[in-house]
Symmetry: C2
Subunit: 201 residues, 2 copies
Protein backbone atom coordinates (compact mmCIF):
# COMPACT_ATOMS: atom_id res chain seq x y z
CA UNK A 1 0.00 0.00 0.00
CA UNK A 2 1.26 3.43 -0.88
CA UNK A 3 1.87 5.53 2.21
CA UNK A 4 0.12 8.90 2.48
CA UNK A 5 2.20 11.86 1.32
CA UNK A 6 3.68 14.62 3.47
CA UNK A 7 1.88 17.87 2.70
CA UNK A 8 4.24 20.84 2.91
CA UNK A 9 2.34 24.12 3.29
CA UNK A 10 4.29 27.34 2.85
CA UNK A 11 4.23 30.90 1.58
CA UNK A 12 7.01 32.00 -0.78
CA UNK A 13 7.56 34.97 1.51
CA UNK A 14 8.41 32.70 4.46
CA UNK A 15 12.11 32.60 5.31
CA UNK A 16 11.70 29.48 7.47
CA UNK A 17 9.82 28.03 4.49
CA UNK A 18 12.93 28.62 2.39
CA UNK A 19 15.03 26.68 4.88
CA UNK A 20 12.45 23.89 5.07
CA UNK A 21 12.19 23.62 1.26
CA UNK A 22 15.84 22.53 1.18
CA UNK A 23 15.27 19.75 3.72
CA UNK A 24 11.80 18.26 3.48
CA UNK A 25 12.19 16.13 0.35
CA UNK A 26 15.07 14.25 2.01
CA UNK A 27 12.78 13.42 4.92
CA UNK A 28 10.14 12.18 2.50
CA UNK A 29 12.64 10.05 0.58
CA UNK A 30 13.95 8.42 3.77
CA UNK A 31 10.40 7.67 4.94
CA UNK A 32 9.19 6.47 1.54
CA UNK A 33 6.67 9.30 1.34
CA UNK A 34 5.90 11.66 -1.49
CA UNK A 35 6.11 15.34 -0.49
CA UNK A 36 3.31 17.50 -1.89
CA UNK A 37 4.37 21.15 -1.92
CA UNK A 38 1.44 23.43 -1.23
CA UNK A 39 2.16 27.16 -1.59
CA UNK A 40 -0.59 29.29 -0.02
CA UNK A 41 -1.14 32.99 0.61
CA UNK A 42 -0.31 33.50 4.25
CA UNK A 43 -1.77 37.02 4.24
CA UNK A 44 -5.23 35.49 4.02
CA UNK A 45 -4.33 33.12 6.86
CA UNK A 46 -3.05 35.95 9.06
CA UNK A 47 -6.34 37.79 8.55
CA UNK A 48 -8.08 34.72 9.97
CA UNK A 49 -5.68 34.32 12.90
CA UNK A 50 -5.10 37.99 13.72
CA UNK A 51 -1.33 37.44 13.58
CA UNK A 52 1.36 39.25 11.63
CA UNK A 53 4.58 38.13 9.92
CA UNK A 54 7.17 37.19 12.54
CA UNK A 55 9.93 39.57 11.57
CA UNK A 56 7.48 42.51 11.61
CA UNK A 57 6.59 41.92 15.26
CA UNK A 58 8.00 44.12 18.04
CA UNK A 59 10.65 42.28 20.10
CA UNK A 60 10.10 39.02 18.19
CA UNK A 61 11.32 40.41 14.88
CA UNK A 62 14.97 40.95 15.85
CA UNK A 63 15.09 37.51 17.48
CA UNK A 64 13.75 35.77 14.42
CA UNK A 65 16.14 37.54 12.09
CA UNK A 66 19.03 36.43 14.31
CA UNK A 67 17.60 32.93 14.56
CA UNK A 68 17.18 32.68 10.78
CA UNK A 69 20.83 33.60 10.25
CA UNK A 70 21.92 31.18 12.97
CA UNK A 71 19.75 28.33 11.67
CA UNK A 72 20.90 28.90 8.07
CA UNK A 73 24.53 28.70 9.22
CA UNK A 74 23.84 25.41 10.94
CA UNK A 75 22.12 24.02 7.83
CA UNK A 76 24.96 25.40 5.67
CA UNK A 77 22.52 27.40 3.55
CA UNK A 78 23.16 31.00 2.47
CA UNK A 79 20.65 33.45 3.89
CA UNK A 80 19.64 37.06 3.56
CA UNK A 81 16.36 38.82 4.15
CA UNK A 82 15.20 40.80 1.08
CA UNK A 83 14.92 44.57 1.63
CA UNK A 84 11.26 44.45 0.59
CA UNK A 85 9.87 42.05 3.14
CA UNK A 86 7.31 40.56 3.39
CA UNK A 87 6.62 40.24 -0.32
CA UNK A 88 3.45 39.62 -2.31
CA UNK A 89 3.64 36.03 -3.50
CA UNK A 90 0.51 35.55 -5.57
CA UNK A 91 2.38 35.37 -8.91
CA UNK A 92 4.92 32.93 -7.47
CA UNK A 93 2.23 30.65 -6.03
CA UNK A 94 0.17 30.74 -9.23
CA UNK A 95 3.28 29.89 -11.25
CA UNK A 96 3.82 26.85 -9.02
CA UNK A 97 0.31 25.49 -9.59
CA UNK A 98 0.46 26.35 -13.31
CA UNK A 99 3.48 24.05 -13.62
CA UNK A 100 2.42 21.38 -11.16
CA UNK A 101 -0.48 20.08 -13.25
CA UNK A 102 1.91 18.91 -15.99
CA UNK A 103 5.18 18.51 -14.07
CA UNK A 104 5.42 18.42 -10.27
CA UNK A 105 9.20 18.20 -10.69
CA UNK A 106 9.37 21.47 -12.63
CA UNK A 107 7.05 23.07 -10.10
CA UNK A 108 9.44 22.15 -7.27
CA UNK A 109 12.44 23.31 -9.31
CA UNK A 110 10.79 26.67 -9.83
CA UNK A 111 9.77 26.87 -6.17
CA UNK A 112 13.37 26.36 -5.06
CA UNK A 113 14.59 28.90 -7.64
CA UNK A 114 12.08 31.44 -6.29
CA UNK A 115 13.01 30.76 -2.66
CA UNK A 116 16.73 30.98 -3.45
CA UNK A 117 16.28 34.22 -5.40
CA UNK A 118 14.47 35.77 -2.45
CA UNK A 119 16.54 34.47 0.45
CA UNK A 120 19.97 33.93 -1.09
CA UNK A 121 20.07 36.88 -3.51
CA UNK A 122 17.62 39.23 -1.74
CA UNK A 123 15.44 39.60 -4.83
CA UNK A 124 11.86 40.83 -4.48
CA UNK A 125 9.97 38.06 -6.30
CA UNK A 126 6.55 39.79 -6.26
CA UNK A 127 6.34 40.83 -9.90
CA UNK A 128 5.18 38.36 -12.55
CA UNK A 129 8.10 39.44 -14.79
CA UNK A 130 10.55 38.53 -12.02
CA UNK A 131 8.97 35.09 -11.63
CA UNK A 132 9.14 34.57 -15.40
CA UNK A 133 12.77 35.71 -15.52
CA UNK A 134 13.72 33.23 -12.81
CA UNK A 135 11.80 30.50 -14.64
CA UNK A 136 13.84 31.26 -17.76
CA UNK A 137 17.06 30.95 -15.75
CA UNK A 138 16.25 27.30 -15.01
CA UNK A 139 15.16 26.51 -18.55
CA UNK A 140 11.39 26.82 -18.30
CA UNK A 141 9.32 28.46 -21.04
CA UNK A 142 8.31 31.91 -19.76
CA UNK A 143 5.57 32.50 -22.36
CA UNK A 144 3.82 29.26 -21.47
CA UNK A 145 4.25 29.99 -17.77
CA UNK A 146 2.83 33.50 -18.15
CA UNK A 147 -0.27 32.06 -19.79
CA UNK A 148 -0.54 29.64 -16.88
CA UNK A 149 -0.26 32.39 -14.27
CA UNK A 150 -3.11 34.25 -16.00
CA UNK A 151 -5.26 31.12 -16.40
CA UNK A 152 -8.48 31.35 -14.44
CA UNK A 153 -8.31 27.71 -13.38
CA UNK A 154 -4.88 28.33 -11.85
CA UNK A 155 -6.15 31.40 -9.98
CA UNK A 156 -9.03 29.34 -8.63
CA UNK A 157 -6.68 26.54 -7.67
CA UNK A 158 -4.57 28.85 -5.49
CA UNK A 159 -7.67 30.31 -3.89
CA UNK A 160 -9.01 26.83 -3.19
CA UNK A 161 -5.69 25.70 -1.69
CA UNK A 162 -5.53 28.76 0.58
CA UNK A 163 -9.18 28.47 1.65
CA UNK A 164 -8.74 24.75 2.18
CA UNK A 165 -5.64 25.36 4.27
CA UNK A 166 -7.50 27.79 6.55
CA UNK A 167 -10.34 25.28 6.85
CA UNK A 168 -7.77 22.66 7.95
CA UNK A 169 -6.28 25.03 10.54
CA UNK A 170 -3.07 25.61 8.59
CA UNK A 171 -1.96 28.80 10.36
CA UNK A 172 1.69 29.28 9.48
CA UNK A 173 4.60 28.49 7.22
CA UNK A 174 6.20 26.05 6.96
CA UNK A 175 3.62 23.59 8.21
CA UNK A 176 3.62 19.87 7.51
CA UNK A 177 0.72 17.41 7.62
CA UNK A 178 1.14 13.66 7.45
CA UNK A 179 -1.28 10.93 8.52
CA UNK A 180 -3.44 13.66 10.10
CA UNK A 181 -0.53 14.88 12.26
CA UNK A 182 0.56 18.54 11.98
CA UNK A 183 4.08 19.85 12.56
CA UNK A 184 4.64 23.59 12.46
CA UNK A 185 8.00 25.13 11.74
CA UNK A 186 11.32 24.36 10.13
CA UNK A 187 12.56 23.50 13.62
CA UNK A 188 10.06 20.64 13.86
CA UNK A 189 11.40 18.77 10.83
CA UNK A 190 13.49 16.52 13.13
CA UNK A 191 10.28 15.70 15.06
CA UNK A 192 8.48 14.92 11.81
CA UNK A 193 11.39 12.72 10.76
CA UNK A 194 11.37 10.85 14.07
CA UNK A 195 7.58 10.49 14.00
CA UNK A 196 7.70 8.81 10.60
CA UNK A 197 10.65 6.64 11.61
CA UNK A 198 9.13 5.40 14.87
CA UNK A 199 5.44 5.44 13.99
CA UNK A 200 4.76 8.17 16.52
CA UNK A 201 4.51 8.44 20.29
CA UNK B 1 37.01 30.95 35.09
CA UNK B 2 33.38 30.33 35.94
CA UNK B 3 31.22 30.09 32.83
CA UNK B 4 28.26 32.45 32.50
CA UNK B 5 24.94 30.98 33.64
CA UNK B 6 21.97 30.01 31.48
CA UNK B 7 19.11 32.42 32.20
CA UNK B 8 15.75 30.65 31.97
CA UNK B 9 12.89 33.14 31.53
CA UNK B 10 9.36 31.83 31.95
CA UNK B 11 5.87 32.58 33.17
CA UNK B 12 4.23 30.10 35.55
CA UNK B 13 1.22 30.09 33.20
CA UNK B 14 3.34 28.80 30.31
CA UNK B 15 2.74 25.13 29.48
CA UNK B 16 5.89 24.91 27.37
CA UNK B 17 7.64 26.54 30.35
CA UNK B 18 6.47 23.61 32.48
CA UNK B 19 8.00 21.14 30.03
CA UNK B 20 11.23 23.14 29.86
CA UNK B 21 11.49 23.39 33.66
CA UNK B 22 11.87 19.61 33.79
CA UNK B 23 14.73 19.60 31.29
CA UNK B 24 16.86 22.72 31.51
CA UNK B 25 18.85 21.98 34.65
CA UNK B 26 20.18 18.77 33.07
CA UNK B 27 21.45 20.83 30.13
CA UNK B 28 23.12 23.21 32.55
CA UNK B 29 24.74 20.38 34.51
CA UNK B 30 26.13 18.76 31.37
CA UNK B 31 27.54 22.08 30.17
CA UNK B 32 28.91 23.08 33.57
CA UNK B 33 26.60 26.09 33.70
CA UNK B 34 24.41 27.34 36.50
CA UNK B 35 20.77 27.81 35.45
CA UNK B 36 19.16 30.98 36.80
CA UNK B 37 15.38 30.64 36.80
CA UNK B 38 13.68 33.94 36.03
CA UNK B 39 9.89 33.95 36.35
CA UNK B 40 8.35 37.03 34.75
CA UNK B 41 4.83 38.26 34.05
CA UNK B 42 4.21 37.51 30.41
CA UNK B 43 1.02 39.61 30.38
CA UNK B 44 3.19 42.72 30.57
CA UNK B 45 5.35 41.36 27.78
CA UNK B 46 2.36 40.59 25.56
CA UNK B 47 1.18 44.19 26.01
CA UNK B 48 4.54 45.28 24.61
CA UNK B 49 4.51 42.82 21.69
CA UNK B 50 0.79 42.94 20.84
CA UNK B 51 0.61 39.15 21.04
CA UNK B 52 -1.70 36.85 22.99
CA UNK B 53 -1.23 33.50 24.73
CA UNK B 54 -0.76 30.75 22.15
CA UNK B 55 -3.63 28.51 23.12
CA UNK B 56 -6.05 31.47 23.00
CA UNK B 57 -5.27 32.19 19.35
CA UNK B 58 -7.65 31.19 16.55
CA UNK B 59 -6.32 28.21 14.56
CA UNK B 60 -3.05 28.16 16.50
CA UNK B 61 -4.69 27.26 19.80
CA UNK B 62 -5.88 23.76 18.86
CA UNK B 63 -2.52 22.97 17.29
CA UNK B 64 -0.60 24.01 20.36
CA UNK B 65 -2.81 22.01 22.69
CA UNK B 66 -2.24 18.94 20.53
CA UNK B 67 1.48 19.69 20.30
CA UNK B 68 1.75 20.09 24.08
CA UNK B 69 0.16 16.69 24.64
CA UNK B 70 2.35 15.13 21.96
CA UNK B 71 5.54 16.74 23.28
CA UNK B 72 4.74 15.76 26.87
CA UNK B 73 4.25 12.14 25.78
CA UNK B 74 7.62 12.19 24.08
CA UNK B 75 9.29 13.65 27.20
CA UNK B 76 7.36 11.15 29.37
CA UNK B 77 5.84 13.96 31.44
CA UNK B 78 2.17 14.02 32.46
CA UNK B 79 0.25 16.94 31.00
CA UNK B 80 -3.10 18.61 31.27
CA UNK B 81 -4.19 22.16 30.62
CA UNK B 82 -5.94 23.72 33.65
CA UNK B 83 -9.58 24.70 33.06
CA UNK B 84 -8.78 28.28 34.05
CA UNK B 85 -6.15 29.17 31.53
CA UNK B 86 -4.18 31.39 31.25
CA UNK B 87 -3.77 32.06 34.97
CA UNK B 88 -2.59 35.08 36.93
CA UNK B 89 0.89 34.22 38.16
CA UNK B 90 1.93 37.23 40.21
CA UNK B 91 1.72 35.38 43.57
CA UNK B 92 3.65 32.40 42.20
CA UNK B 93 6.40 34.61 40.75
CA UNK B 94 6.68 36.67 43.94
CA UNK B 95 6.90 33.48 45.99
CA UNK B 96 9.82 32.36 43.82
CA UNK B 97 11.80 35.55 44.36
CA UNK B 98 10.90 35.61 48.07
CA UNK B 99 12.58 32.22 48.45
CA UNK B 100 15.42 32.71 46.01
CA UNK B 101 17.22 35.34 48.09
CA UNK B 102 17.91 32.81 50.86
CA UNK B 103 17.70 29.50 48.96
CA UNK B 104 17.77 29.20 45.18
CA UNK B 105 17.27 25.46 45.63
CA UNK B 106 14.02 25.94 47.56
CA UNK B 107 12.89 28.49 44.97
CA UNK B 108 13.37 25.93 42.18
CA UNK B 109 11.64 23.22 44.23
CA UNK B 110 8.64 25.49 44.70
CA UNK B 111 8.68 26.47 41.02
CA UNK B 112 8.52 22.84 39.96
CA UNK B 113 5.77 22.15 42.50
CA UNK B 114 3.76 25.08 41.11
CA UNK B 115 4.29 24.00 37.50
CA UNK B 116 3.36 20.40 38.32
CA UNK B 117 0.24 21.47 40.23
CA UNK B 118 -0.90 23.52 37.24
CA UNK B 119 0.01 21.21 34.38
CA UNK B 120 -0.14 17.75 35.96
CA UNK B 121 -3.07 18.24 38.34
CA UNK B 122 -4.89 21.07 36.51
CA UNK B 123 -4.87 23.32 39.58
CA UNK B 124 -5.40 27.06 39.16
CA UNK B 125 -2.35 28.41 41.01
CA UNK B 126 -3.40 32.10 40.90
CA UNK B 127 -4.39 32.55 44.54
CA UNK B 128 -1.78 33.25 47.20
CA UNK B 129 -3.41 30.62 49.45
CA UNK B 130 -2.95 28.00 46.72
CA UNK B 131 0.71 28.90 46.36
CA UNK B 132 1.16 28.68 50.14
CA UNK B 133 -0.63 25.33 50.28
CA UNK B 134 1.64 23.90 47.60
CA UNK B 135 4.66 25.29 49.44
CA UNK B 136 3.50 23.46 52.58
CA UNK B 137 3.21 20.21 50.62
CA UNK B 138 6.95 20.31 49.90
CA UNK B 139 7.90 21.26 53.46
CA UNK B 140 8.31 25.02 53.15
CA UNK B 141 7.08 27.41 55.87
CA UNK B 142 3.88 29.03 54.54
CA UNK B 143 3.80 31.87 57.08
CA UNK B 144 7.33 32.95 56.22
CA UNK B 145 6.56 32.63 52.50
CA UNK B 146 3.38 34.70 52.85
CA UNK B 147 5.38 37.48 54.47
CA UNK B 148 7.83 37.26 51.59
CA UNK B 149 5.10 37.47 48.95
CA UNK B 150 3.81 40.65 50.62
CA UNK B 151 7.28 42.16 51.03
CA UNK B 152 7.69 45.36 49.05
CA UNK B 153 11.23 44.49 48.03
CA UNK B 154 9.99 41.21 46.53
CA UNK B 155 7.24 43.01 44.60
CA UNK B 156 9.81 45.45 43.26
CA UNK B 157 12.13 42.60 42.35
CA UNK B 158 9.48 40.92 40.17
CA UNK B 159 8.65 44.23 38.53
CA UNK B 160 12.33 44.88 37.85
CA UNK B 161 12.82 41.38 36.40
CA UNK B 162 9.81 41.78 34.09
CA UNK B 163 10.80 45.29 32.98
CA UNK B 164 14.38 44.14 32.51
CA UNK B 165 13.21 41.19 30.45
CA UNK B 166 11.20 43.43 28.12
CA UNK B 167 14.20 45.76 27.82
CA UNK B 168 16.30 42.73 26.77
CA UNK B 169 13.71 41.69 24.16
CA UNK B 170 12.52 38.66 26.13
CA UNK B 171 9.18 38.17 24.35
CA UNK B 172 8.04 34.68 25.27
CA UNK B 173 8.23 31.68 27.57
CA UNK B 174 10.32 29.66 27.88
CA UNK B 175 13.22 31.72 26.62
CA UNK B 176 16.87 31.01 27.38
CA UNK B 177 19.83 33.40 27.27
CA UNK B 178 23.44 32.28 27.49
CA UNK B 179 26.60 34.12 26.42
CA UNK B 180 24.35 36.74 24.78
CA UNK B 181 22.62 34.10 22.65
CA UNK B 182 18.81 33.72 22.90
CA UNK B 183 16.87 30.50 22.34
CA UNK B 184 13.07 30.66 22.38
CA UNK B 185 10.93 27.66 23.11
CA UNK B 186 11.03 24.27 24.77
CA UNK B 187 11.68 22.84 21.31
CA UNK B 188 14.95 24.75 21.08
CA UNK B 189 16.52 23.13 24.15
CA UNK B 190 18.35 20.63 21.90
CA UNK B 191 19.78 23.59 19.95
CA UNK B 192 20.86 25.25 23.19
CA UNK B 193 22.45 21.99 24.30
CA UNK B 194 24.34 21.60 21.02
CA UNK B 195 25.40 25.27 21.04
CA UNK B 196 26.99 24.88 24.47
CA UNK B 197 28.58 21.56 23.53
CA UNK B 198 30.12 22.77 20.26
CA UNK B 199 30.78 26.41 21.11
CA UNK B 200 28.24 27.57 18.53
CA UNK B 201 28.05 27.82 14.76
Amino acid sequence: MVKAPIEFYFDFSSPYGYLAAHRIDDVGTEAGREVLWRPILLGAVFKATGQSPLVSQPLRGPYHLHDLQRTARRLKLPFQLPDDFPMATIAAARAFYALEASSPTDAKRLALALFDAAFQRGINISATETVLGLASEIGLDPARLEAGIKDNAVKQRLKAETDGAIARNIFGSPLFVVDGEMFWGNDRIPDLHDWLKTGGW
